[in-house]
């Protein structure tokens, strides 16, 4: 195994016209670990995410992804769908973006598009029904079923994704991202809108993804209980720059973080941090 971090962001800068959303941000995400990116609203977390996943082209800086085999990919040069396809970076969205009119199973099948496309000989072989494609489809269904079991939605497999409960949709979106078999999973506020019980189930799911599958995770999160419980490493941002990083314990005790995150009212800050622990 390569000792290098899976993702290293070096002096990343993103400008929108005159507004600097992210400035000279450098951090690294360790392999097979959960890295959290936190910060107050408007700190530029989602912008960083969009740069990493190819939805924005960074104004400056470098984003390196190092695969298990040592292969390095410059993410800032890839765009659009190629990041998911070639660099194997999968993401979820802050406001859930499932395919609401397709079933839960179909959502997970679409995620395996590139593998199935190859197996179907770019449609031509699949159209005449060659057995290799049928086998590949069976495998794809098996993988999807496996994920539906993991997220506890097997009995809802044939229901439209838009009909699922909010928490189920969140988990299905994570499963869909995982069906692309990514090296790095980027989650944009996966616990937003979840109740305490659902948050706990989510933490468990993310830990199992890290421990059983060895997938590295980068997540943005506001729910401190989730962040503090599962993160191995936390990067704190404010106004587009990094203000602190370290283990959950280090970050929690960092006065700069407390000040930035919750204004200067340290009592309130301490209270919220307490509740998160």
């Amino acid at each position: 195994m390569s000792g290098e971090p899976i993702l290293s962001v070096d002096r990343l800068t993103m400008r929108f016209g005159g507004i600097v959303a992210v400035q000279d941000l450098s951090f690294a995400a360790e392999r097979k670990k959960i890295t959290a990116l936190i910060g107050p609203n408007g700190a530029g977390k989602t912008t960083v995410f969009n740069c990493i996943t190819g939805f924005y082209k960074p104004s400056g800086g470098a984003i390196r992804l190092t695969h298990d085999d040592g292969r390095q990919i410059a993410l800032e040069r890839l765009n659009d769908f190629r990041i998911a396809k070639q660099a194997k970076v999968a993401r979820t969205f802050q406001n859930i973006r499932l395919f609401p009119g397709m079933t839960a199973l179909e959502n997970l099948m679409v995620a395996q598009h590139n593998a199935l496309m190859l197996a179907s000989g770019f449609t031509f072989l699949g159209l005449i029904g060659v057995p290799t494609y049928r086998n590949a489809e069976k495998q794809a269904i098996a993988l999807a079923t496996d994920w539906l079991k993991r997220i506890n939605l097997l009995d809802r497999a044939d229901d439209a994704a838009g009909n699922l409960a909010y928490g189920d949709q969140r988990r299905l979106e994570i499963a869909r991202a995982m069906c692309t078999e990514p090296a790095l999973l980027c989650l944009d506020e996966p616990a937003a809108g979840l109740n305490a019980r659902e948050s706990a189930a989510l933490s468990e799911l993310l830990l199992s993804i890290r421990d059983e599958l060895g997938t590295s995770i980068l997540l943005i999160e506001h729910d401190m209980s989730v962040v503090m419980e599962i993160s191995d490493h936390i990067v704190v941002m404010d106004h587009g720059v990094k203000i602190a990083q370290g283990t959950p314990q280090e970050v929690r005790d960092d006065p700069k973080v407390i000040a930035a995150y919750l204004g200067t009212d340290e009592e309130e800050a301490a209270a919220v941090m307490e509740s998160g622990s």
């Binding site: 396809k85 397709m102 199973l105 179907s120 439209a160």
Partner: protein, 441 residues
């Protein structure tokens, strides 16, 4: 706070009479203003060329009264069987029998279609009409790939129909190629033009996409009109060879099919042959579409319709996915065009106006976007229904327009609006049209 929407909904349903009267009065007042000049005053040129006019209070009063009464009736209907409430009104037993009918409707229709030339052998009019309906069924199924599955609003579909027709017409008249050689060529050429159209419109969405495709349809037609050396311009291409039964002509000669089979020649043979030809082409379109839906490309089309951004995040190349949708739809349009050319024996730009695109799009929308059976039923209703109302003469369009408006109120997502999943674990449940997206345009 949370109960407010519910209460207002109830209020509009129960607190009827003042609301009804108010709406009716407003509508009657609008009618009064509109009709007071249009109907209320009649002008004519008098005997010496001067203007004479007189008021028609009776007509005006009856019109306004009709609007008043009509708006009350419509409002009552809307409250009782509103567009959203219809499903709840239908009892479960009726619904289950409907699903029973639904399951056997498609095979029954197919068997009936296969038997049409047998049943109506001596009725040339019905056979011609059936061929026309099947042509539109095929066009509808072709456009359904682009609009229904991929969710890309294409207002210029007739362009591919024209490319297919002219490909066959010109290749056959200039190079003497047979129909069976030209048919795939027409499909390939139309698909090529589909890709060509696809490239500039890849970045466009919604209204913008619709406008560019509309323009593309017009450009093709104008090129055909003005490129006189090649296409004959407004005079069209005539003398296009009739299709042969794999090389054996269907005519009255000694080499003809009738002579070879030792039966008496009848011009109906050719009509029946054309009927089965278009039926085979339409069924091919249907078969390919159904198969494509279950392949990754078809799922990607539907995913693209549902959410393009999510598709990109999953590593789906949206560019090629859109282009293949355009190309596939265009290819079927090209096949239909080649058939049209061989059936007519004569093609001219007049056959490829925007009206054709609009008609095919109306068939797809009316049928329920994405539904194969729905599109077939809609084509039957649109083309067949149009013929049915022929006796109404000038009021035909009026009746037809009203029928369409009523259907769209009753079923806003088309005759068959729900979606069938492409893959399932235990049971294929249909997905309500409320959840299925219509695409970005």
């Amino acid at each position: 706070m949370t109960a407010t929407p519910h209460e207002t909904k109830n209020a509009s349903r129960t607190a009827g009479i003042p609301f009804l009267l108010k709406t009716a009065f407003i509508n009657a007042a609008i009618a009064l203003v509109l009709f007071s000049l249009m109907v209320g005053i009649r002008t004519e040129a008098g005997s010496d060329g001067q203007l004479t006019y007189w008021a028609r209070f009776g007509d005006l009063a009856s019109l306004v009264a009709a609007v008043f009464g009509g708006s009350i009736v419509i409002e009552l209907l809307r409250q009782w069987i509103g567009p959203t409430g219809t499903e709840k009104l239908v009892p479960a037993s009726v619904q289950s029998s409907m699903s029973f009918v639904g399951r056997y409707l498609a095979p029954a229709l197919l068997i009936f279609t296969l038997l049409v030339p047998v049943i109506f052998y001596n009725q040339r009019y019905i056979l011609d009409l059936a061929i026309l309906v099947l042509t539109y069924v095929m066009l509808g199924w072709g456009l359904n790939v682009v609009v229904g599955l991929a969710g890309l609003l294409d207002l210029g579909y007739v362009a591919f129909y024209a490319v297919g027709a002219y490909s066959y017409g010109l290749l056959a008249t200039n190079f003497g190629l047979s129909f069976w050689v030209c048919l795939p060529l027409a499909g390939i050429l139309a698909a090529f033009w589909g890709v060509l159209l696809g490239f500039p419109v890849l970045r466009l969405r919604g209204d913008y996409l619709a406008i560019v495709t509309l323009a593309f349809g017009e450009i093709i037609r104008l090129v055909i009109i003005n490129w006189q050396d090649l296409t004959g311009g407004p005079n069209g291409v005539s003398g296009i060879p009739r299709p042969s039964f794999f090389g054996i002509p269907l005519d009255n000669s000694d080499d003809g099919l009738a002579a070879k089979l030792g039966i008496e020649y009848s011009p109906t043979h050719r009509i029946v042959f054309l009927f089965y030809l278009i039926l085979a082409l339409a069924l091919l379109t249907n078969w390919v579409t159904i198969r494509l839906r279950r392949l990754p490309i078809g799922r990607a089309w539907e995913a693209l319709r549902e959410d393009e951004v999510a598709c990109r995040a999953l590593g789906i190349n949206t560019t090629t996915t859109k282009l293949t949708a355009f190309a596939t739809g265009a290819m079927f349009g090209g096949f239909a065009g080649a058939f049209f050319a061989t059936r007519q024996g004569f093609i001219s730009p007049e056959s490829f106006t925007f009206q054709e695109s609009a008609l095919v799009l109306a068939i797809v929308v009316l049928g329920g976007m994405g539904s194969q059976l729905g599109v077939a039923l809609a084509a039957l209703a649109m083309i067949g229904g149009f013929e049915l109302f022929r006796s109404l003469e000038t009021y035909r369009m009026l009746v037809f327009g009203m029928a369409m408006v009523l259907i769209m109120i009753w079923r806003p997502r088309g005759l068959i609006g729900h979606r069938a999943p492409t893959v399932y674990l235990t049971k294929a449940q249909t997905i309500s049209s409320d959840l299925v997206k219509e695409g970005h345009g």
